[in-house]
Amino acid sequence: MCFTIRKGNVSVAVENQRISALAELAVPAIPAVPGRGIVLWQRHPLAMLNLRGPGDRAFRDGVRQVCGCELPSSPNSSNVCEEGEILTLGPNEWLLVADPDTRWSENMKIACATLTDVSHARVVVHVEGEKAREMLAKGCPVDLHAQRFPGGTCIQTSIAKIGVIIHKLHNENDIAIYAARSYAGSLWHWLTASAAEYGYHVVAR
């Protein structure tokens, strides 16, 4: 057993031993015509923190100073900065998402804030490609049209009875799907079954 420098709660060596819920599932299936079809990839490991706070000026300043990232100011929106991303989950609730080696941790002190570590609570799969939106429409009841759902938007809804966060990155055809960890297998089944029509690749990023 090796113990190394601590960052937040967790040692880096330990961080490397994280096993994703999708570890055994993420294998390529139906190859698409090169350059077309859907590309699926998993983003893992991640640090994720649930952030609660009043959302007022002082709190926003606090977040900016401590996290180095601006709190998104409107519903269904996100902000991306060097340190990571902040997704809006609801009034006075956000999800901080970062690579595990950022300095973000549950122990950060932001006035009036409550932080809860949920790094392991979700799997995140990216769906890329021209047909990504069409494919997601097989399960997602919310309008994903580029005008209604521009880059940076993040919403919560459910797909095939699985609760998800859908985060559209600023790259038009790249959409991240967050789902609770225990549903990983079913989510994966849904993703691959829905992508089959277009063909898909699974890649490591």
């Binding site: 519903p75 919310v142 919560q156 809804t157």
Partner: protein
């Protein structure tokens, strides 16, 4: 299929919400001080109107917030939504 405007997430299909019953049926402030009949009125009795009804729903597949919804139980028109306790007076 109804569309309910979550004050936080925007208009969403009813399937994203969980019904919570009549809005804010006042819970007796001093349960011990009220009669059995008054207490069980609160627990069991409902106006159940055919028409405008104030009720609560949770946006369970979305932001998880409980919201107040003013809705017509006959036509299913959603008249207003707000945070609990914030519906305009009728």
């Amino acid at each position: 299929m109804m569309l309910i405007k979550c004050p936080h997430c925007g208009a969403r299909a009813v399937t994203e919400f969980t019904y919570g019953g009549a809005a804010e049926i006042a819970r007796p402030a001093d349960p011990v001080g009220v009669s059995d009949a008054q207490w069980t009125d609160y627990v069991y009795m409902r106006d159940n109107p055919r028409g405008v009804h104030d009720e609560v729903w949770q946006h369970s597949a979305g932001c998880r917030r409980w919201i107040a919804v003013r809705r017509n139980t006959l036509t299913h028109d959603v008249i207003a939504t707000a945070d609990p306790g914030k519906l305009p007076h009728r």
